[in-house]
């Protein structure tokens, strides 16, 4: 069993991990915005329901949520199980959308009211004010906390091994039965590389938006 083979095997896990990461981003970023709007809704029942959901999702362990989404429908309603990877994506999207919604909310609330009012007084419509005035300021404010969340997301993908999705750690661990323990620890390199690239990308975006305050 060569070093090369270990790398190849873990790489297969990395593909799964990366897929989970990107699919979560793809769906959780917009869903988070919807949840955010719900949590700021003027209609009290909507606001309360959304805030309760966010509280439950953020207040309970992600690992438990993965198990519930995977086994829950079968145990409770006798429904067929979702494919493992699908269950993982669904759980991550819901979980991360709730975290993102709080980040968006912080961002939106930190935009001074005067920005909206200046736009209104100049005859802009509400949507023009949002897209032309507020949005870029919002992106700028949201990127640093979002960056933290994304790094956590990369590491959280390791949790899906509880429903036997073959991600990086699972693959690393698979060498133990062949008598090799080091590949498990070696997986750290892959997470570090993933997060390293992510951090560089985020830094670049932050730099791009550095021209205004």
């Amino acid at each position: 069993m060569s070093f090369w083979e270990v790398n190849l095997t873990i790489m297969q896990g990395l593909v799964t991990t990366a897929e989970l990461f990107f699919l979560t981003l793809l769906f959780a970023l917009p869903l988070g915005l919807i949840i955010c709007l719900g949590s700021m809704s003027k209609i009290t029942p909507i606001r309360l329901i959304v805030k309760t959901i966010v509280w439950i999702v953020r207040g309970s362990p992600l690992m438990l949520q993965i198990l519930i989404v995977y086994y829950g429908p079968g145990l409770l309603f006798n429904l067929p199980l979702l494919p493992r990877f699908t269950a993982a994506v669904v759980t991550f999207v819901i979980n991360y959308a709730c975290y993102f919604s709080e980040i968006y909310r912080g961002g939106i609330q930190s935009i001074p009211k005067g920005q909206y009012e200046a736009g209104q007084v100049l005859g802009m419509t509400r949507s023009q004010v949002f897209f032309k005035v507020v949005l870029l300021q919002l992106v700028k404010r949201v990127i640093p906390p979002m960056g933290n969340e994304l790094i956590t997301l990369v590491k959280d993908t390791a949790l899906v091994r509880v429903i036997a999705v073959y991600e990086v750690i699972w693959m690393g661990e698979s060498f133990i039965k062949k008598g090799m323990i080091w590949p498990l620890f070696y997986t750290a390199v892959f997470y570090l590389a993933f997060n390293g690239i992510l951090t560089l990308l985020l830094n670049r975006v932050e730099k791009k938006l550095d021209y205004f305050h």
Partner: protein, 260 residues
Amino acid sequence: MSVLEVQDIHKSFGKSEILSGISFSLDEGKVLSIIGPSGSGKTTLLRCITQLERAEAGKITVDGDTVFDAAETATLSKAEKRRRQLYFGLVFQSFNLFPQYNVLENVTLAMKLQAKEQPDFKEKKDEIFAAIDENARSLIDSVGLSDKLANYPCELSGGQQQRVAIARALAMKPRILCFDEPTSALDPELTNEVLAVIKGLVKLNMTMIIVTHEMRFAKEVSDRIIFMEGGNICAEGSSDEIFVKSENPRLKEFLGSFQS
């Protein structure tokens, strides 16, 4: 000829009444200053006039055209709201420039967005935008910032930012330009450059409402002055009547607090 008519404006926040029936009128090309202690409702009045706040009672007309009527129940179309909005320009105490746009873009943004709705926009886009830029350049020049066109607000002093905000408001060609303590957020040495720009507008016969604590300035530029206290107009008159002849004890006390 009176341009602006404000009739019996009432405004409350929760249970406290902030404006208890404000009425006045303003003639073409005249300057009205509003003075009064902090908390007397000056900002709220300006916000009701400029449609940022909805009064509970009262009526406001510009050139005889209703821009606000509390008795009006129908919801207005976006276009109608904007048409009414654009009678007024407002310069904020805190400037409120758009940080991600440079000086020129700050002044042209709203005009360009509006131009997109013209029926012939597609064919004439370049011409229309060139005209908007041209107009903005001359406004920025008139506030003395033609060397800052490409600078961002964070690169400007407070006084410069406020001058950009004035140019931005002028770009929409408002019928009435309102100022809410335009120099209160500035260091003392920067107030004069902003006041000089406003004086320039006085010379051009711009119709203006100015909320200010700069008493010497108000005395110099105002055709009429309103002294507000506790949500009421407590005294009203020409510059002379307010600053020299008035025997109103509340007003005298207020003005006295500025002598040092």
